[in-house]
């Protein structure tokens, strides 16, 4: 965990070397993101060593009388080098208040269960260094989702939207199993969909989007990105791609996006969501353009 302190590059994109040489916009964006992270960090962790971190955690529980009205609880957690936001809330739960509730599992930005609203931004608890943040660190559940308890939000709607785009590989003419034929994907095509495959279903993007907040039926960035992952995959036939575009170009599909870039800013997997949505908008237009 602490390696992330000195070399943030190694944490998130281990296979960026694949992209070396080709200076893509995405790569530039990643570099910029990292640079700004390093800047924030230069506030220096050594200042914090031996200190305590002050966190304010959102509390709500419909079943406990004095928690029915939401409030913030303060915790002072001893700082350790490399401590993440998730480490801090886990320490608070284990040491001070065992009723403090939040989801987590992998602790390495893989399962997508611990997206919180930290200091006004959607972030993964396990991927956010406490030392990067201004204190007191405000930890709230994801905005625009119903709070079930403390930091736990209802994810049903998000999952419904994800499933609405039929996020699985389909092919009308899958080769016969008896042929034992491989369905090859070109390297270029793999590169094209690479970033879009990395979604961990954390719902940060959906939560950050104020169009999604106002339009409950909007598919949202994650679902559209999911559809992109399949629509842009060469192995899917034209008919299926048409079918996907039909889902996407509905009233509450890609056209709701007004390019605020909120989702792209918060995605913990650095997926260029706005870019993907825009590309699908152009695909949808191309599909419908007829000059006769």
């Amino acid at each position: 965990m602490s390696t992330q302190q000195q070399k943030p590059e190694t944490q998130e994109s281990p296979d960026d070397s694949e992209m070396n040489g080709t200076e893509s916009p995405q790569q530039e964006r990643l570099e910029k993101k990292e640079r700004s992270m390093v800047d924030e960090r230069s506030a220096d962790e050594s200042d914090l060593e031996g200190d305590t971190v002050h966190i304010k955690v959102f509390r709500y529980d419909p079943e406990v009388a004095d928690k029915q009205e939401p409030r913030f609880d303060d915790f002072h957690v001893p700082f350790k080098k490399g401590m993440t936001v998730l480490d801090a809330v886990m320490y608070a739960r284990d040491t001070y208040d065992s009723s403090l509730t939040f989801r987590h599992s992998c602790r390495q930005a893989v399962c997508g269960s611990d997206a919180f609203f930290v200091n006004g931004k959607q972030r993964l608890g396990c991927k956010t260094q406490i030392s990067e943040l201004q204190q007191p660190v405000r930890i709230e559940p994801l905005p625009h989702q119903e709070v079930v308890k403390d930091l736990v939000v209802d994810m049903d709607h998000f999952y419904d939207q994800m499933h609405a785009v039929e996020p699985y590989f389909k092919d009308e003419d899958t080769p016969d199993a008896s042929d034992l034929e491989e369905q090859r994907q070109s390297r270029e095509n793999r590169e094209k969909v690479k970033m879009s495959t990395r979604c961990i279903w954390c719902a940060s993007c959906m939560s950050s989007c104020n169009i999604a907040a106002g339009d409950n039926e909007y598919l949202g960035p994650a679902a559209i990105n999911k559809a992109y992952r399949f629509a842009m995959d060469d192995r899917e036939g034209d008919e299926i791609k048409e079918h996907r575009l039909r889902i996407l170009e509905q009233e509450h599909g890609v056209w709701r996006c007004q390019t605020q870039f909120s989702c792209t800013e918060v995605c913990p997997k650095d997926i260029p969501l706005t870019e993907h949505i825009q590309e699908l908008k152009r695909e949808a237009v191309k599909k419908n353009l007829k000059f006769w």
């Binding site: 916009p25 995405q26 530039e28 964006r29 910029k32 709500y60 419909p62 079943e63 939401p70 609203f117 006004g120 931004k121 709230e140 559940p141 905005p143 625009h144 119903e146 709070v147 079930v148 209802d154 950050s208 104020n210 907040a213 106002g214 007004q258 390019t259 605020q260 870039f261 909120s262 800013e265 260029p272 706005t274 870019e275 825009q278 590309e279 908008k281 152009r282």
Partner: protein, 131 residues
């Protein structure tokens, strides 16, 4: 899970300090777009004074232009229009997928350009008016 709590729209203007460039661009674009629509109606109202005759039109224009507040509003209108056009071009680029990685920079550029053009226009708009 018998009950849950709806926090409503959390990213309201109370959190404006946390908004990112893209969010500001969106807010300003909405605002300027609707301001321009609003101006369209006042514009039509002023122009239609010509229906009564040339003198009525001249009097209306001269009366309005002698007011300091109108001159200030004109500068404001220019600022609003220039920003809307520049950011509109930025949005067109975004729609074409050009320079998405520089979307924040192009927003700041439209702000700076708008400021420069607006300031440069002040002497022209304020010519010959007394407070």
């Amino acid at each position: 899970m018998s009950q849950s709590y709806n926090r409503g729209l959390i990213e309201d203007f109370g959190r404006w300090k946390e908004f990112s460039a893209g969010m500001w661009a969106w807010i300003f674009h909405k605002f300027t777009g609707w301001m321009l629509i609003g101006y369209l109606f006042t514009h039509i109202a002023v122009l239609s004074s010509a229906v009564t005759g040339p003198e009525a039109y001249t009097n209306t224009i001269q009366g309005l232009e002698s007011l300091f507040i109108i001159r200030v509003l004109e500068v404001g209108l220019l600022a609003v229009a220039v920003f809307h056009i520049l950011n509109g071009l930025r949005l067109l680029m975004v729609d074409l997928g050009v320079g998405l990685d520089a979307q924040d920079k192009s927003f700041y550029a439209s702000l700076v350009l708008t400021a420069i053009i607006t300031i440069a226009s002040v002497p022209t708009f304020m010519d010959g008016v007394t407070i």
